[in-house]
């Protein structure tokens, strides 16, 4: 490791209602690979966005190559040599490799783009990196791994001195990851500073020199990788004091029947051989890190995405568990399953419409006489749920867009309650909802479970998982890696399973 190339000190950043970064410190040396770790929402991405000029810091200092610096946009950061390689690749599939690398700064020959020069420059870059890619190939013909190599080549072509890799391995195969590591080591040899964001503990051990851990927007500490164990890192990641009482033991009666049984569900790369059971009155937490495949599992189960194989059994009104075919959300709804999306605005509600229209959307047939909608009944039922769920809205006619996040969520809950759904899938039920409203949603979920509804709760918040769940399924990279009763669950054993893929 050489001298320090980048120092971020006391970085503070707030968004309305959120203290996203709380006096965070971070430094990168020449010739080191520095891991940045933390749970979802720990502030890693925000910190990198502050560094590369996407966000502006509120206070603190960034010293880059010995000079106090502040980038105002990614372009400035790029020009100075600080480049980010995103997890989601920013490539134009229909352009060639060379065209992508030089996009926005095409070499010119008079008025014409100098394609020849572009291709030659690209070839040189690939030679430097020891990669074999034809610059004339269309981007969409390359594998994800190769595309990522192109992103790296693009970064190098900016004369990068600090490269940030944001979960680079998430979409790669074993072989591609090995190739990537060769390149990263090579860049390290050349004296570049490398920031490596990843959730995969084993990779961190292999490729990085130091680890900085963040938690809840704050800086926890920095470790030398080879002197520390996986347990040290996990403890730093989760070592928060939990203020809200976690559930001590399951609230589900020991003889509660199984209402939903999923066996060997497969749907693409993100859902591999997933099996679990949900019992009556149970809140089944789904924990895991971003991209673990939890939402994908829920969507496949609900029929919103196609599945390749798997057996789903649902308890009917007669109390018998029997296999069902779910090919569309319509089927799922028919079997009494309701899905509350993590992205309410996009998938949950029709925000430009009223509470009434949203509440009755899934159950129109209850409110129609022949062809006509019974507006009086609609209003009556909507008002009943507004009262029951304590939804704060001036009238039932209010547009949903004008409600707060917590109250929007209540409208969506009301929608599924009118349907009398027995199985409710809450996907990140409190995302974007303030603390007070969160507690109300929690109370509501507990009440629903006590009344005999069964709930699948996907959550990225450890405190939420420990507070609400009766049992916890942990997923990692599309597979179930753990299934533990709440009485045995700790932050440490959940995080351990969430960062370990079983093969």
């Amino acid at each position: 490791m050489g001298e320090v190339i980048l120092t971020m000190k006391d970085i503070d950043k707030s968004f309305p209602g959120v203290h996203a970064l709380d006096h965070v410190n971070f430094e990168v040396k020449r010739g080191e690979v520095h891991a940045l770790m933390g749970e979802n929402g720990a502030g890693k991405s925000t910190l990198m966005k502050v560094l590369t000029g996407i966000y502006q810091k509120d206070s603190g200092s960034i010293v880059y190559k010995g000079k106090e610096t502040e980038f105002h946009n990614t372009r400035e950061a790029q020009d100075a040599g600080v480049v980010i390689v995103h997890q989601e690749l920013n490539m134009v599939g229909d352009l060639t490799v060379a065209q992508n690398i030089f996009i926005g700064r095409e070499p010119k020959k008079g008025f014409r783009i100098d394609d020849k020069k572009m291709i030659e420059e690209s070839k040189k870059l690939f030679q430097e990196l020891n990669i074999e890619i034809d610059p004339r190939e269309k981007m969409h013909n390359l594998t994800v791994g190769k595309q990522q190599m192109c992103e790296i080549a693009k970064a190098i072509s900016h004369k990068a001195e600090v490269i940030i890799f944001d979960e680079p391995s998430a979409a790669l195969t074993e072989k591609e990851i090995a190739d990537l590591f060769v390149i990263i080591r090579d860049l390290r040899e050349k004296g570049l500073g490398i920031v490596y964001i990843s959730h995969r503990m084993d990779e961190i051990k292999v490729i990085t020199d130091r680890v900085t851990v963040m938690r809840d927007g704050g800086y926890v500490g920095t470790l030398i990788t080879k002197d520390s164990t996986k347990e040290d890192i996990i403890n730093m990641m989760v070592g928060r004091v939990i203020y809200e009482d976690p559930k001590q033991h399951s609230m589900v009666a020991p003889d509660a029947p199984v209402v939903l049984k999923v066996e060997h569900l497969n749907a693409g790369k993100m859902v591999q051989d997933v099996s679990f059971e949900l019992r009556k009155g149970e809140i089944l937490g789904f924990s895991g890190l971003m991209g673990a495949g939890r939402t994908e599992t829920a969507r496949a189960l609900f029929g919103a995405d196609p599945k390749q194989s798997g057996k789903i059994s649902v308890m009917g009104k007669d109390g018998q568990l029997r296999e069902v075919t779910i090919n569309s959300p319509q089927d799922a709804v028919k079997y009494g399953i309701g899905y509350l999306s993590e992205d309410r605005r996009r998938y949950g509600c029709v925000v430009q419409k009223s509470c009434i229209e949203n509440t009755t959307l899934a159950t129109m047939e209850q409110f129609t006489k022949g062809f006509l909608i019974d507006s009086a009944k609609e209003k009556e039922v909507t008002e009943k749920y507004i009262k029951e769920l304590a939804t704060k809205t001036p009238t039932a006619d209010q547009l949903v867009v004008n409600l707060s996040g917590g109250n929007q969520q209540k409208v969506v809950i009301a929608k599924w309650l009118t349907r009398d759904s027995d199985i409710l899938i809450f996907d990140e039920p409190t995302r974007g909802i303030d603390v007070g409203a969160k507690n109300e949603i929690y109370k509501l979920m507990n009440k629903l479970a006590a009344e005999g509804k069964s709930i699948i709760m996907i959550s990225s918040e450890m405190t939420e998982v420990l507070r609400m769940s009766d049992r916890i399924i942990i997923m990692c990279e599309g597979k179930v890696t753990g299934n533990i009763d709440i009485s045995e669950a700790t932050q440490e054993n959940i995080m351990d399973k969430a960062t370990r893929s079983i093969d």
Partner: protein, 326 residues
């Protein structure tokens, strides 16, 4: 919705109605010929087919789609209907039914292409626009029976004529049917499952699907309804066009679609009303009919209509921005 509390002035439909009244007043004031009963009568005569197309296409536009095949479709059905009467001796009533049936058929085709096969609405209906134009051109120019000929009774659906010759009194009874149809479809839009789902698809198709709605079926139905009204428009078109010409019809859909947007359908779908369409069409018709009377030729009508449309859509976009800022 909170519209009850809002001032009536913030309702685009009311503003457009004021525009209709203002335009009528201006043209009547400036031209003696314009304010004659016969001018008004002819304006109404020529508005029916536009209005029928517009009522139909309001539904695809609310879902965020479009139907470009209504203009050529209408002419195609009128041509086929006319051919059945002239060359095959069929009664007018059969030709009318065939028009409606063909409309529903092409509407279903559009609906399946868009709702089931996921073709972009612009592309799917561009194809059926070409198909109907071509199919219509297979027929020769065909006049439907004139008022005094056998089968001419169908003219009285739109214009009741009492007496004969120059002294006859003519009443635009079609306007009454239009008002009834507009109210009916406004009711369908706001008070039936079909209407509610049309709006839901336009507002947030994903959320509608995840609520367990059979989105495909209702998406198809939206285009079927549009086709049905295109079929009705074909009858109204035959009633005012002495001889339906093959190869025409392209461009007629633009007046109808323009009228719907003037009437306040959201440019991105999700909101709209048939009442708005009703007043919107009359803005277009008044410009079309009135401008020549004050000495501006047809080209000016197009330019001014285009400008009016820009203003109408901008109002909608500004309103939406304001709502988002709340």
């Amino acid at each position: 919705m909170t519209k009850k509390k809002k001032s009536i002035l913030s309702d685009q439909r009311f503003i457009v109605l004021l525009v209709v009244i203002a335009l009528t007043a201006i043209f009547s004031f400036m031209s003696k010929e314009f304010r004659q009963y016969n001018t008004m009568l002819s304006l109404l005569d020529f508005s029916y087919y536009d209005l029928l197309m517009a009522i139909g296409v309001t539904f695809p536009l609310i879902t965020g789609g479009v139907d470009l095949s209504i203009g050529t479709g209408m002419v195609c059905y009128a041509l086929i209907g006319g051919t059945l009467i002239r060359s095959h001796g069929m009664p007018v009533i059969v030709a009318m039914l065939v028009c409606v049936l063909l409309g529903v058929l092409i509407g279903t085709l559009n609906g399946v292409l868009i709702g089931v096969m996921n073709l972009p609405p612009f592309l799917a209906t561009l194809c059926t626009c070409m198909i109907t134009r071509g199919a219509g051109s297979l027929c020769t120019a065909t006049p439907w029976p004139g008022l005094t000929q056998e089968g001419g009774w169908f003219h009285s659906i739109f214009k009741l004529t009492i007496g004969t010759g120059r002294s006859a009194d003519r009443y635009p009874i079609g306007f009454l049917w239009m008002v009834i149809l507009v109210l009916l479809m406004e009711f369908v839009l706001n008070h039936t499952k079909f209407g509610r789902y049309t709006i839901a698809i336009g507002s947030n198709k994903e959320a509608a699907a995840l609520s367990g709605i059979n989105v495909k079926f209702y998406h198809v139905m939206v285009y079927v309804v549009c086709g049905l009204f295109t079929g009705l428009a074909a009858i109204a078109y035959a009633a005012v066009t002495p001889t339906v010409q093959p190869g025409t019809g392209a461009g007629l859909e633009m007046d109808a679609i323009g009228g719907v947007f003037v009437g306040g359908v959201a440019a991105t779908g999700g909101y709209g009303s048939v009442l708005g369409t009703f007043v919107g069409i009359f803005v277009i018709m008044l410009l079309k009919t009135g401008l020549p009377y004050i000495g501006l030729q047809a080209n000016w009508q197009q330019i001014i209509t285009g400008l009016v449309l820009i203003v109408a859509v901008l109002i909608d976009i500004i309103k939406e921005k304001k709502a988002a800022a709340l």
